[in-house]
């Protein structure tokens, strides 16, 4: 029964609803912005590199934030070492990763010669 009810409802509404095609209904919804161009743009690969690095640090922030809130209490309760060292280790891992990515040129912005006009930066 649980499956049948929504199916009948969808079918019923499909049958009885009016069909009014209109330009505005088919437009891309961009949170209120007026869309320009079509959706099939090729992003520059370097955009993803930066985005990935961003995500990493985004998550880092999310983790550090609650940690800072309880930091003082944690130090008094467990001592400095147990409160601070794990976070330092965590950040240390990220730093190693960032340093490596940096040294390998992940953040070096190179303008692509091959596909002019197709960057979305």
């Amino acid at each position: 029964m649980g499956v049948a009810i929504p199916l009948t409802m969808i079918a019923a509404s499909a049958l009885i609803r009016p069909s009014v095609p209109e330009q505005g209904k088919r437009a891309v919804y961009e949170s209120g912005e007026v869309p320009t161009g079509n959706t099939r743009i090729r992003f520059n690969i370097q955009y993803y590199m930066v985005a990935l690095l961003f995500v990493v640090f985004d998550i880092e922030t999310v983790l550090i934030f609650p940690w800072t809130v309880i930091y003082r209490d944690a130090v008094t309760q467990f001592g400095l070492a147990r409160a601070l060292l794990p976070m330092l280790g965590f950040i240390g891992v990220l730093v190693v990763g960032l340093a490596w990515a940096w040294r390998n040129g992940a953040v070096r912005w190179v303008r692509s010669e091959h596909v002019p006009g197709q960057t979305a930066d």
Binding site: V96, A99, W100, W102, N104, G105
Partner: protein, 509 residues
């Protein structure tokens, strides 16, 4: 949950193998950061090999010194548990990874970003190690991803090779789908039981009340978890990525994925199903033993039949690897409550151990053939023994051991599996497996026949011009010796495996 007396103190030291691996991954990054353009191949390979090998030694020492005995060491409030099974599988993963690192030196010569390769291998191994110890669906998922993400990168590692990139892409897409299914399954299970910790899930289900009310939901969740594991273990119907990923990926990576990564999928499946969903409790709602029986039969049959029709050796190995996943699934499919569960489960573990060596060795031999540029099909291997007899002996050992002839450990581990299945009253499963084994002998022996009995096609010049790749060659030899030695020495490991299986099974109900 806490053991009476911790065999190691402080608790987290039990995670040493994982920590060692993590640290070595960092070291690799740091080394490469010093001068990314001028990487020292030998040094990087050496560091990676030393790292994985030392993790292996630590795991072995822990295993033999009884660190994980009994219920094991519970870490981080039960999120991770280091017990016999975790250490046993850690040993498998790290030994395979060490072989891979050793074997990759020559294979990768001339490619970019070698440090990235090794650090991905080491990171993936770290993920597996954590997976082996994961005791909560959350850690299961996180470690699964820690394994998966590097794997995608590794498959696509040969950036200028279309096959490699395509395989990586497919692997990634299917992986994303499976992860989604898996995560959904986790959320359903959490919704029903209110816990992510495996033992807590079991106790939530124990009363029977939850099952009566929300059984359907749990069933869907459990089947979705099955799907997630089926992806990692390359079992039907989640196996589609496997042949293409194994064929496209660099051969050492194929070896890594088909041996270690598969074993990682199994360890997690073993633990989740035996600990969180004891079959006695959930049989009425979701008979996962039956599900695994179906998967096992379909997987081994499909894998072996497909392997029999291949012309490409690497692809044949890929399908045979699917077939072997089917055999190991017996480890779960025969937990019928009849007979001795620890034999069945332990047999699965042992088979994965032996498989780790023989399958890795076989893929590495393919890597060597690729290095010599002899080609990929059976015909291309014709007469290889005239030029490289010792390596061909090793390959023969792998092939026959994979087929289950008593020349390597593969014979015994299969024997355990079949005997376990018969003991559990599912003799038909053993029968299907035996038929499949017999069939597999034919396509394995095709390789042997090509190497030893056929006349060379004149494509073996690469052996003379390129010589023997030292690292690769020694890795193949180590794997061959290990495969053969595991026949008489399996006793050492089988005791450990049966004990570990027993411990896991006792945790459940």
């Amino acid at each position: 949950m806490m053991p009476l007396q911790a065999p190691i103190s402080p608790d987290w030291l039990a995670l040493t193998p994982a920590i060692v691996l993590g640290v070595f991954a960092m070291v690799l990054f740091l080394l490469d950061s010093i001068d990314p353009d001028e990487s020292n191949d030998g040094l990087l390979a050496g560091v990676a090999t030393v790292g994985t090998a030392s993790a292996m030694v630590v795991a072995g020492v822990f295993l033999l010194s009884g660190v994980g005995a009994g219920e094991g060491v519970s870490v981080f409030n039960g999120q991770l548990v280091v017990d016999g099974m975790a250490l046993f599988f850690t040993f498998i993963f790290t030994s395979v990874a060490a072989l891979i690192c050793l074997a990759s030196i020559e294979y990768l010569a001339g490619t970019d970003d070698i440090a990235g390769y090794y650090s991905l291998v080491v990171l993936a191994t770290t993920g597996m190690t954590v997976m082996a110890a994961a005791n909560s669906l959350a850690t299961v998922f996180v470690s699964l991803e820690l394994l998966s993400l590097p794997s995608y990168g590794l498959v696509a590692y040969l950036k200028n090779d279309r096959g490699s990139v395509e395989a990586g892409m497919k692997y990634f897409l299917i992986g994303a789908l499976s992860s989604a299914v898996f995560a959904y399954g986790i959320s359903l299970v959490y919704g029903v039981t209110g816990s992510l910790l495996l033992p807590d899930i079991a106790s939530a289900l124990a009363g029977g009340e939850t099952l009566a009310n929300l059984g359907g939901l749990l069933g869907v969740g459990v089947l979705m978890l099955v799907g997630g594991f089926a992806f990692k273990t390359a079992s039907v119907p989640f196996h589609f990525w496997a042949p293409e990923a194994y064929e496209g990926a660099p051969a050492p990576v194929s070896a890594f994925l088909s041996s270690a990564s598969k074993a990682a999928g199994f360890v997690i499946a073993f633990r989740v199903f035996t600990v969180a969903f004891p079959i006695e409790t959930v049989a009425g709602t979701i008979d996962w033993v039956l599900a695994f029986q179906i998967l096992a039969v379909v997987t081994m049959t499909l894998g072996n039949f497909a392997a029999a029709t291949q012309e490409n050796v690497k692809r044949m190995l890929a399908y045979s690897s699917v077939g072997h996943a089917g055999y190991v699934l017996i480890g779960l499919a025969a937990l019928t409550g009849q007979g001795s569960g620890e034999i069945v489960l332990g047999a699965g573990m042992i088979h994965l151990l032996v498989y780790g060596f023989m399958n890795t060795g076989a893929f590495l031999f393919v890597a060597m053939a690729e290095y010599w540029e002899v080609g990929r099909t059976f015909e291309d291997y014709n007469g290889l023994a005239t030029k490289a007899p010792v390596a061909c002996v090793a390959m023969t050992v792998f092939m026959f051991s994979l087929a289950g002839l008593p020349i390597g450990g593969g014979f015994l581990s299969k024997y355990y599996l079949f005997a376990g299945a018969v003991g559990a009253g599912v003799w038909w499963l053993a029968g299907v497996a035996a038929i499949n084994s017999a069939l597999s002998l034919f396509y394995y022996s095709r390789v042997v026949k090509a190497m030893w009995l056929e006349e060379p096609n004149g494509n073996l010049g690469g052996i003379d011009t390129r010589g023997y790749p030292t690292g690769l060659y020694s890795a193949v030899m180590i794997a061959a010796v290990a495969t053969v030695l595991l026949l008489p020495a399996l006793g050492v490991f089988s005791d450990v495996a049966f004990e570990a299986a027993n411990a896991v099974l006792r945790l459940g109900p």
